[in-house]
Amino acid sequence: MNSSRRNLSPFLLAVCCLSIAMLISCNPKKEKQNRSFCFWKTAFELSSADNRMMNQMGVNHLYIRYFDVDWNPYEKEALPVGTINTYWYSSDLKNISFTPCVYITNTVMENASEQQLNELAGRVRSRIESILAEQSDRYKNQAGGPYEEYHFSDIKINKDSLKRVKDSVETFSIKEFENKISEIVIDCDWTEKTKDKYFLFLKHLQELNTKHTISATLRLWQYKDRETSGIPPVKKCLLMCYNLNSPAQYNIKNSICSVDELKKYIKDDTYPISLDVALPIFNSAVIFRNGSFKGMISNVNLADYENDTVNYQKLKDKLFKFKTDQIIGNTVIRYGDELRVEQLKTTELDEIADLLSEKLELDDDSRVTFFSWDTTYINNYGIENIKKYYQLFEH
């Protein structure tokens, strides 16, 4: 009896452990996918350094721009533009979910007939499916490759069974990839004139997409002026808290965002649709000659201009005068031209994040995303600060 109890005990223990493990695996607690970034480049590439950075910030979701749609006046139809290159260079995407985004210009809404918009919904859906298929194929190859290499190379196993195992790895990977995507975001700066057409388009697109929920971006004026802009027929909106002015405007502090400007838009009431929120971390510089817009430089660093007193004279905060003639790209910049750096300081982004986290009513599942993924942008604020912003919205 004693002996049998001694033998039984480890067995029971093992059964218990196995059961607990099975319970855990069968009823996984869904992890919140709410720390997000917008990936807006034309080729999808994430290095292992990018992955490390994402892990450090706890990023678990990406909005990925798939393609744009613009109106071609000669063809008299909407056509795709700038489709993402689907090469996958990433060592670890296991913990990241994705939301494909499609930007449709308002010109499309202005020009397309209702019939054309219905057709467009089908085309958008099918193009997203094609990109997803290509991406999952890449993902499969990526997931299958190393797994086979590292786990099977040293194991003596007959080829048939190896193939079976490999097939199961591939099936698992495709499924895993499909699970990463539950939503599609349509981005369009619709107006009062185009809202009806746009909303019809969104409805139609949702009808065609049973697998994914259709969401829409929401600009601040659309958030504020709901009577004029209308409320899009979607379950969720991504509120874009930037691009409040045109960069070509001369007499403004910056076109991206400021807490004072933001206060004009953000009310205390609740938006009737669940919201995700996007904050700006991108930067650029705008060049003016005699108050007229001359061009833009992307990805700049404010400190570079502040420290270079040989070439730039600081006129006021973020505004500089060229002290020397220079060639930037193919443009000759002359002495006296001005350059406005469009980059929010950490203190400014702090204020913006504080205001939004206080005023916006977000759901538990609401995402906070940053526009857009670029290690230079992130380093301008620092990983700890970005984490701090996420945390602001999580409490």
């Binding site: 393609f67 000669y74 063809e75 056509l79 193009r127 094609s130 220079q326 930037i328």
Partner: protein, 807 residues
């Protein structure tokens, strides 16, 4: 057997542990245009359109045509003449060339031109009812632009992910028939010419080649009113003529277009047939000397070899200044590429035909230098003759500066100065800049470069050129060449600190030039100089310890002169990198006292945090790596350069005063020197990098040439030949107090010999049989006398047996 395998494979395996940072010999090469040396650049006003034909090793199709957009501005000017001077040229340019057809079309369709292009004076005029026909034309031409270029492939297709939209092509055919009718109804010559131009273009693209030619003749041939559309339209007639097979006539027409406009020069040159027989026939069609000079110039403008006979021929046809100026500049750039690039870099001329040049590089260089100098003299004489016949003006100034440069090449600086003094004060800016470069070159050759006034004059020139380079990136080429030659002069005078800093400057200018087409500019190449080893590379090869002292002093100067401030740049943010180099050089000189003294000035943990030291100096330096087959290597050893040198010195000092210690201490010192050689575990005490084929590639790097011979002399030849190690093992054998010591000394003498033997044989040509390895007498001693020692038992191996049996 296992031991035998280990000892045999030891060398080959150890060679695999390469450090990559300082290895410039493989994996990455600079392109020939980057390394090409060129001091001369004299550009007359109006020569800009010829830039694609300036002498360069770049691929022809990497250059762009009409950078200054001269033709386009001519077209804008025609529109301004039509609409009135209140219309700004820049506004016209913006609509014609910087507005997409789609944006223009949508604005037209929605009648929102004024709204979308608010403030544009061109649009304001175009939308007036009286200008309706002009607006219709512009809308039409934008549509054709869309047809031609498809907006650079912006529009994709819904059909699949990787296809573009080309559905619009059919529209061209439709427009073709509209145009025919339209042209009949027009009365305004401005519009007739524009529609006719579009019609000719469409005809060509639709392969209606006869129509294209006829239309040109009807609307442009011998017609009044100069317009840039005429040569543009003629281009399509030339292409159509070429396509129907009339090569000679097409060639003639290409030469006409080439001469009459800028934008089409590049494409004309692409289609122009340079076969001598065709050129001969093309010349027969020419109506005057000017046309003949254009045809001959076109046949010469891409000639990479000696073109002096052609230049003489062209000169007889009285070419225009620009044609002759470009040809002269090309010829001088060729001469200096042939002479200076091999002289001041490790490469042959950048534009060369075939690869045979390198077979006996040094000898070939000498022979070619002689021929090239003779050619430069011949060229100089021709230019002097031309100079005499040329009236005062821009071309005469260009010839003066060109002759002065050829005088410099031939060490005739006084004559050169004479020609420079004749250059007018109001000569083109580029000629005046070149004059300053020539004066700087003369200064280098004829003045004392160590005198403060000379340095001041040189640096003033260099700083001015740097300012010019910010607006004209090609000036970086002059800066690169100039600083390289100045560096060489200081090097000749053994002023290595100054020479090295100027060398770094020249490299920086070279990088800036290399990337000017990619909009990277100067700062993006800063990373080179942030690298640990890269700024040290020159000094690692040429500097003595006193040179490094000078460098350290220069770096620390509180009140540097302009010259000192200019040369010292921002290369060495950490002075300890220089001190470590100084210690390394002292160690190579086997000056242990100076090595220790210098290392003592460096923080103790420096090598843990910088460069690759901790990854390569991490084993016990007193355990010879060659015997690692019999012990377990420990890579966690706490190596410290200072402690190591101090220990060697202590061991030697103790041996000097105590005979009983000599045997043991010399063995230890021998081990230390063995490990600091190419074969040891502490080679990084002596060098910053190591490669697998040192004789061939690693030490023959792209910037500094063959360094192997220099490296062989390091540390009294210890690095490759283990001379010092062997010296101490032999001393140990002499003073040994027991057989264990004698056995170890004998074994290591064998190991030193064997390592050197293997190294030498590994680099023998394939068809050469390796000489037999003949062990020294100590090796036999190891077997005969010490076979009972523990050293023998531990380290004896079948390979030794093999060699002894062979003997």
């Amino acid at each position: 057997m296992k031991t035998s395998k280990n000892i045999i494979s030891f060398l080959s395996i150890s060679l695999l542990f390469l450090i990559t940072t300082p290895c410039y010999s493989c994996g990455w090469y600079e392109n020939s245009e980057t390394t090409r040396l060129a001091f001369f650049r004299g550009e007359l006003s109006g020569m800009e359109g010829f830039r694609p034909f300036y002498y360069s090793a770049d691929f022809y199709n990497t250059t762009s045509s009409d950078d200054a957009k001269i033709d386009r501005y001519k077209n804008c000017k025609e529109w301004q003449t039509k609409l009135g001077t209140s219309v700004k040229i820049d506004d016209i340019y913006f609509i014609l060339y910087n507005t997409s057809p789609e944006a223009f079309e949508i604005s037209c369709e929605k009648k929102e031109l004024k709204k979308n292009f608010g403030g544009n004076t061109f649009i304001e005029k175009l939308i007036l009812p009286k200008n309706k026909e002009l607006l219709i034309y512009l809308q039409f031409s934008k549509e054709l632009e869309y047809c031609n270029f498809h907006s650079d492939g912006k529009w994709e297709s819904w059909d699949n992910l990787n296809s573009w939209n080309y559905g619009y092509e059919v529209k061209i055919e439709h427009d073709y028939s509209i145009l025919k009718d339209k042209l009949k109804t027009l009365k305004d010559d401005f519009l007739i010419k524009r529609y006719a131009f579009q019609f000719i273009k469409i005809s060509y693209y639709l392969n209606n080649l006869g129509d294209a030619c006829k239309l040109y003749d009807s609307y442009f041939l011998n017609k009044k009113g100069e317009t840039i559309l005429q040569p543009w339209a003629l281009m399509y007639k030339a292409l159509a003529t070429d396509r129907v097979g009339d090569t000679v006539q097409a060639n003639y027409l290409y030469s006409q277009v080439f001469d009459q406009c800028e934008e089409k020069k590049y494409v004309c040159m692409q289609w122009f047939n340079k076969k001598p027989s065709i050129i001969e026939k093309t010349l027969a069609l020419a109506k005057n000397d000017h046309e003949r000079s254009v045809i001959l110039s076109m046949s010469t403008l891409r000639n990479p070899g000696k073109a002096l006979p052609k230049l003489k021929e062209i000169y007889n046809y009285h070419p225009s200044d620009n044609y002759f100026g470009v040809l002269v500049m090309r010829e001088i750039n060729k001469v200096e590429d042939w002479i200076f690039t091999p002289m001041l870099t490790e490469y042959g001329p950048s534009v060369q035909i075939g690869e045979g040049w390198y077979e006996n590089f040094e000898q070939t260089k000498k022979i070619n230098a002689k021929t090239d100098k003779a050619y430069s003299k011949e060229l100089k004489q021709f230019l002097i003759d031309c100079h005499k016949k040329t009236k005062a003006g821009d071309l005469k100034d260009l010839l003066s500066v060109a002759i002065a440069h050829l005088c410099f090449i031939n060490d005739e600086n006084e004559t050169g100065k004479l020609f420079l003094s004749g250059i007018r004060k109001n000569a083109p800016a580029s000629i005046l800049r070149q004059k300053n470069i020539q004066l700087a070159l003369i200064t280098i050759k004829s003045e004392n470069i160590n005198a403060e006034t000379t340095k001041e004059s040189l640096v003033t020139n260099l700083i001015q050129l740097e300012k010019n380079a910010k607006l004209d990136y090609d000036t970086y080429k002059s800066l690169y060449s100039l600083t390289r030659i100045i560096s060489k002069e200081y090097q000749k005078q053994k002023r290595i600190a100054v020479a090295g800093l100027l060398f770094l400057k020249s490299e920086q200018y070279k990088s800036a030039y290399e990337n000017h087409n990619e909009d990277w500019g100067w700062d993006n190449y800063q990373y080179y100089f942030e690298d640990y080893y890269w700024p040290l590379a020159y000094f690692d090869r040429y500097a003595s310890t006193t040179d490094i002292d000078e460098l350290i002093e220069l770096r620390a100067l509180k009140n540097p002169t302009t010259f000192e401030r200019y040369i010292r740049g921002k290369y060495f943010s950490n002075v300890n990198a220089l001190k470590d180099l100084k210690a390394t050089i002292a160690f190579r000189d086997n000056d242990l006292e100076l090595t220790e003294k210098t290392l003592a000035e460096i923080p103790k943990n420096y090598w843990d945090k910088h460069y690759e030291f901790k990854d390569y100096l991490n084993e016990d330096p007193f355990l010879p790596k060659v015997l690692a087959y019999a012990y377990k290597r420990n890579f966690n050893y706490k190596f410290n350069k200072l402690t190591f040198i101090h220990e060697i010195r202590t061991l030697l000092a103790e041996a000097d005063t105590n005979d009983a210690k000599k045997g043991a201490n010399y063995i230890k010192v021998g081990h230390a020197y063995f490990n600091c050689s190419y074969w040891g575990n502490s080679w990084m005490m002596t060098n910053y990098g190591k490669g697998s084929e040192e004789q061939h590639s690693f030490s023959n790097d792209y910037l500094f040439g063959a360094m192997f011979d220099k490296r062989t002399k390091m540390q009294q030849k210890n690095y490759y030949e283990c001379t010092l190690a062997k010296k101490y093992y032999k001393a140990a054998l002499k003073y040994a107090t027991n057989n264990e010591q004698r056995a170890m000394a004998s074994l290591m003498i064998y190991c030193c010999n064997e390592a050197v033997y293997d190294f030498n044989n590994a680099n023998l040509p394939y068809d050469t049989e390796a000489p037999k390895f003949i062990p020294e007498k100590e090796t036999f001693g190891f077997y005969r006398n010490y076979s009972t020692t523990s050293v023998f038992r531990k380290y004896q191996c079948p390979e030794l047996d093999y060699y002894l049996a062979a003997k």
